[in-house]
Each structure stands twice: as structure tokens, then as C-alpha cells.
Amino acid sequence: MSVTHMSSDSDLNAWPGSPASGFGHRSRGRTLRNALARAVMWTAFAVAMVPLAWILWSVVSKGGHMLLDSHWWANSQRGITNRIVGGGAVHAIQGTLIQGLVTALMAVPIGVMTAIYLVEYGRGRLAKVVSFTVDILTGIPSIVAALFVYAVWVTAFGFQRVAFAVCLALVLLMIPVVVRSTEEMLKLVPNELREAAYALGVPKWKTIMRIVLPTAFAGIITGVLLGLARIMGETAPLLILGPYTKNIATDLFGGLMPTLPTMINQDRTEVLQPAVDRVWGAAATLILLILALNIAGRLIARYGKLKN
């Protein structure tokens, strides 16, 4: 703001963004920087995409053909050895779905209610402690959750390694995902809706049950499905708590229950082609299953949103 600077009109017009300078051309320097920034961004994007595309390509190219065989969706691996072509993944798909469902049945109520507490009721110290605990839970490696359940279920209580114990470990991993996503959805419900309900003489609990939860419903379901997708690919708890079997087994407390991750693990060191194919096939199936859940989650989020 020196006086000399203000002395002549040409000085004033000199700065590039000045309206007085008119619609001049974009400067060379800016064009160059723009191109450079663009190149850096595209490179970063490509670097991030390469491994993803690579994984998808190897899984699909090596295991995709297994999924086209109707036996894959109809049979188990009962009586099939590493030299024989054939058999299916039904036993493993079933196990993965059962464990996912049972886990969700336990984790969703706990997670949703925790989120309701944090958003609608939580004030002061207890809420902070709960929120912090959820943060810690988010950061727990799956193998630690698995070992914790092992220590309680097998070492302390003396029970067998069964599918239900796997579910308990998965619950620990799923709860924080459900809490956080539900929390976000509940926070998105405008406060005006709560106040509108209060002003009609509706008690708080009923406002939450009948106004807040229905409004956030689609978002909560999306979060649950994403959480489910996350735990269905989880492997450590299965390795520690859920022994594999080639047979169909649906008893949660009956010991063995095959799943897709343990099916992959079972044959991963094999060299004979039929077994290797099955490993890739199981991997492709797992990816497909999780993809389907993700898509379902997104669809519900898009079409189940507040109807207008």
C-alpha cells in the first residue's frame, strides 16, 4: 500500500487478476502448472488402480471359469481330492453366509443401540468413554479379536472351536463399523424433525423409534451391509476358531464349518491343477459375494433415501 505504488494507472493495471487488464490469455506458467498437476493426479490415480485391476484380473482369469460350472454352485468338496477335477463351493458359501448372518444378528442390535445412545442420549463422560472404546475397537487387528475369543471360549470356558466362536470374534470386528456408520446416519436426521415430534407431545423414545430411525433406515441398512462385506472376507478368526471341512456343515456349535476364506487357505499350497483352480474359484466367489453386498448397500442407499 505504498504511495508510489498507487502513483500511476499502469502500475494498478499491472496485477494479472485486475479487471482492468481485461480477459487476457491464461499465462504460460499457469498452463504449465495445470498440466503438471493434472499429470500428477492421473499418475496417482493409475498407481492406486493398478493393484486393484491386477488382483481382479488374476482372480477372474484363473478362477472365473470355475464359477461358470453349475457343479460349483451345487456341490461340496466331499470325497474330492487334489487330483480330481470337480466338486463345488456350496459348503463354503453356505458357511460364509451363515456366519455372516449370525454375526449380523448379534452385532447390528448392539451397534445400532450404541449409536442411538451416542447420538440421542450421550452427554458427558460416559458418552466420551463409549465413543473412545468404539475407536479402540475399530483399531483392533482381527487376529487379536480372534485370540481374545479363543482365550475366553476355549482356554477359559473349555469349549470346542466352533463356528459360533468365529461369529463372536467377527461381532467384535463388526460392531465398530455398524456404530460409526449408524452414528453418521442418525446425525444426518435434521434436528427439526425431532423437535417437530417433541412439539406434538411425542415422548423422546417414541420419537427415536418412529421418526428418527425410519428416516435414517436406508443409511443404517447400507452401513450394515458394508460392515457385513467387511467381515465376510475376514480370515484370521476363521483360521484360529473355525476349522475347515470339505463337507456341508451348518451346525453353529458342531465343530467344523467350512467358509470361503478357509477353503482358499486349505488348498493354497497345492501344486496340482484341480486344487489350484478351486483356490482361485473360491477367491473369485468371495469377491463376487462381497461385491454383491456392496452393490446392494449402494442401491438401498440410493433408492431407499427420503422419498420425494
Binding site: 424433525l193 417437530a196 417433541y198 412439539a199 406434538l200 411425542v202 421418526i211 428416516t215 427420503l306
Partner: protein
């Protein structure tokens, strides 16, 4: 139906901050009272103490007393939920429940309070929509979402929802501030009609609106930012706008400040 409201030595707080100071006033049944004053003077806050909505905000509390006829609504044994059934409220921004149809929005208060008879509900929905001058516009699409209506229609829907539970007092917090002039006129006409049944208090920043709809006007002001709002003067609307007692009232209603 309508009840008288008596405020005595009312102080309203947000935590340690005193937002409204020392308000004493009486509001007669079946009248419209307008609250006017500059932003931040505590009009809305005071309004929200009349149906115990203020305490929904963490730290919100009051000193003094609020009586509906002879009942102290802040007495220890009074359930705030019951107070809110008696004292309805319409908010600044229309807020129909997004998951509900037009009919369900109107029926929400009744249904959530346990009324199940479908015939009775349908009758109450129609009666409330008629009172809110909305029936003719929506009677053919009662099952469509309430959020699909125009802003002015949504606000009348919210009024219908508020009166469906048959309150005795109706609080309106700047009900027209988000609406165009035609919708505003519709709401103002409605207020004049509803006056025969309810005690109505309306917060407004629109002087003409206060002059048009209200019987009595209360002017609030605050000495400085961060100080508590006070009731400067309350009188018949005509007198408040033509010949107020206080100098600041005259300055405010004539647009010389605020």
C-alpha cells in the same frame, strides 16, 4: 379450549448465559400476540419456554414461573411431554416428516400418542387439513409424501399437524420467514381464523405482519450483544405501532434501528 398464559419474573438461561431477563406478561385466550424485536433478543427462546422445548437444548433452564390458566407448567410433577400436547408449535422452516405421506404427517401426533381407530384418524386428518386451508389442495393426494408439497403448503401441513392433536395454545416461530408473499398471506389468514379457537403467539421479524395479524404486540430488545433480552413494552398492537410508550419501541417499529 384456549388458555390464558401468565409469565412471572421469567429468566431463561443457556447454561450460565442468561438469554432472557425478567419477563412478566399475560396473554389472553383466543388472541394473537406478536413477539417482535431485533435478532438475538430472545423472542424465540422465550417462545420455546412456553412448551418446555427450551430444556431440550443441553443447559437450557429457566427461573420464574409459567402458568397455563392456573397450572404451573414447570411444577415438579408436570411431565414436559404432556405440556407439549397442550401447547403446540410451528417452526420457522417447514419440517414435515420425510418418511410419511401427507395424511400420515397430519395424523402423526395422534397416532404416536396411541390413537389407532382408522376412521377417527381419517376424520381428524380431514378436519385439521380443512382448518389449515389445505384440504382442497391435497385431498386427491393424501398418500403422497408430504415433502413433495411447496414450501407454503408444507408449512400449512405443519400447522395442520400441530392442530390435529387439539392443543390449547399454538406457538409460531417465524412461520412465514421461509415463504413467499402469497403463501405468507395464506398463513396470516389462517392465523386470523385459528384465533377463534386457540391462543396464538407468533414471533415475527415482519412489522407489517405483526400489525396485520396480532391483537397485542410485545417488543423485546437487548442492551448490547451478550446481554440478556428484555421485554420493553407490551400493549395493544394498534397502540404499539401508532403511539408506543417507549422511545425504543417507536424507533424499532418505524425502522429507525434494528
Amino acid at each position: 379450549m384456549a388458555k390464558r398464559i401468565d409469565l412471572k419474573d421469567l429468566n431463561v438461561f443457556y447454561g450460565a448465559f442468561k438469554a432472557v431477563e425478567d419477563v412478566t406478561m399475560t396473554v389472553e385466550p383466543r388472541s394473537v400476540t406478536a413477539f417482535i424485536g431485533p435478532s438475538g433478543c430472545g423472542k424465540s427462546t422465550l417462545l420455546r419456554t412456553l412448551n418446555r422445548m427450551h430444556e431440550v437444548i443441553p443447559g437450557g433452564r429457566i427461573e420464574g414461573s409459567v402458568h397455563l390458566d392456573d397450572d404451573d407448567i414447570y411444577a415438579a410433577n408436570v411431565d414436559p411431554v404432556a405440556v407439549r400436547r397442550t401447547v403446540g408449535m410451528v417452526f420457522q422452516r417447514p419440517n414435515p416428516f420425510p418418511t410419511m405421506s401427507i395424511a400420515d404427517n397430519v395424523a402423526a401426533g395422534l397416532r404416536l400418542n396411541g390413537l389407532k381407530n382408522k376412521k377417527v384418524l381419517a376424520e381428524k386428518v380431514e378436519a385439521s387439513l380443512r382448518s389449515a386451508n389445505l384440504w382442497n389442495e391435497v385431498k386427491d393426494r393424501l398418500s403422497k409424501p408430504g415433502a413433495g408439497l411447496s414450501g407454503g403448503q408444507q408449512q400449512r401441513l405443519c400447522i395442520a399437524r400441530a392442530i390435529a392433536v387439539e392443543p390449547q395454545v399454538l406457538l409460531m416461530d417465524e412461520p412465514c420467514s421461509a415463504l413467499d408473499p402469497i403463501s405468507t398471506l395464506a398463513i396470516e389468514d389462517l392465523v386470523t381464523e385459528l384465533k377463534s379457537t386457540y391462543t396464538i403467539l407468533i414471533v415475527t421479524h415482519n412489522m407489517q405482519q405483526a400489525a396485520r395479524v396480532s391483537d397485542r404486540t410485545a417488543f423485546f430488545n437487548l442492551a448490547a450483544t451478550g446481554k440478556a433480552g428484555r421485554l420493553i413494552e407490551m400493549d395493544d398492537t394498534q397502540k404499539m405501532f401508532s403511539n408506543p410508550t417507549q422511545r425504543t419501541t417507536e424507533d424499532y417499529v418505524s425502522g429507525r434501528f434494528g
